[in-house]
């Protein structure tokens, strides 16, 4: 649910390398059905990964990770209309306006790594900010430092929030370290948005998927 390719300034992995690595993980007995590319501060509607997806039998969806005044937000179901409504390169956009705009355009925006020190939603809530439209956060993040996923856990419990899992991979071998297990079958971005709105999912660690034990 959260990964970056070389299109993001700080990633060193290509999409092809990610899907090849997923074959390594599958050979080791893990279940990985797909990835969502959430490039920093951008969305490329022209990029088509369908032949790569078909060649390696990995669903490849596109979203974005946007910088906002209240931390990073993952956006799923991005449309061209949404990219016109919101300046994706604005690092100080209002996250509440982003969430409203996303819903108006059949997309969904939710806080990434809410427990991250210095930039997580938990810090802004502690400063007195409220976010009524947040019902789902990224509870498991593969790039978190010690203590950060724990803070996200506490946030979910204290505020009754649902959680997804995302690897936040910037390197090939870090893909799928955390994932989200959905009840629904997902084939395209709008299916992903519907699945998130259904509230039927849970975050999982890669180890949880060994030999079909989950997902």
């Amino acid at each position: 649910m959260h990964s970056h390719s070389v299109a993001s300034d700080d990633s060193r992995a290509t999409v092809e390398q990610y899907v090849k690595w997923i074959q390594v993980l599958r050979k080791r007995g893990h279940t990985v059905d797909g990835i969502v590319l959430t490039e920093h501060r951008q969305f490329d509607s022209q990029k088509d990964y369908s032949s790569l997806a078909s060649q390696f039998d990995v669903l490849i969806l596109k979203g974005s990770e946007l910088d906002t005044r209240y931390g990073h937000f993952l956006v799923y179901g991005v449309t061209e209309a949404l990219t016109k409504a919101i300046d994706f390169s604005d690092v100080r956009m209002d996250s509440r306006e982003l969430m409203k705009a996303a819903r108006q355009h059949d997309a969904i925006a939710l806080p990434a790594h809410p427990g991250r020190f210095g930039i997580g939603l938990t810090d802004y809530i502690a400063q007195g900010e409220t976010f009524e439209d947040v019902s789902i956060v990224e509870r498991f993040n593969g790039g978190s430092r010690p203590g950060e996923n724990e803070r996200a856990d506490e946030l979910c419990i204290s505020h009754g929030l649902l959680g997804i899992g995302g690897s936040d991979a910037h390197l090939t071998s870090h893909i799928a370290t955390c994932m989200t297990d959905f009840n629904a079958v997902i084939k395209k971005e709008s299916d992903l948005v519907d699945a998130l709105l259904s509230n039927e999912f849970q975050p999982v660690w890669l180890a949880d998927t060994l030999n079909g034990s989950s997902a």
Binding site: R12, A13, Q17, K20, R145, P146, L171, T172, S173, H174
Partner: protein
Amino acid sequence: MPYYDEIELGDEIGPIEKVATDDEVSNFCHVWGAPTPNRFTNADVAAKSGMKETIVPGIMTMAMMAQLLTDWGGPGSIKDLDLVFRQPVPHNRALTMAATITDLREEDGENLVECDILMTGTEGERYVGGKAIVTLPSR
């Protein structure tokens, strides 16, 4: 030195462990031409920069990580080493360097091995991370 034909995706290079001592950092800064005092050798300057302690220069960590690859693949084997300096690296503490092979391909007549490469600390801190491309001969 390994041969390209013997390598598989997921193979590991290393790990090796090194420590950057105060003297080694000071020596490195001399070669580098860093103006003194600086946050790499002077605790007060480091504190003024918001550091808890003096730190190891990013380029020095890069040189250390390159050794993991040249020890494995040979002195001229590195084609590309691309690193992000994620956290300040402390002096006098064990630094572990390792790489995971993530891609194998032939390009312009060369065998290329691509890997994720990391420098981590004793508590699993990800200090430096990135990608390297190394060339290896065929058997």
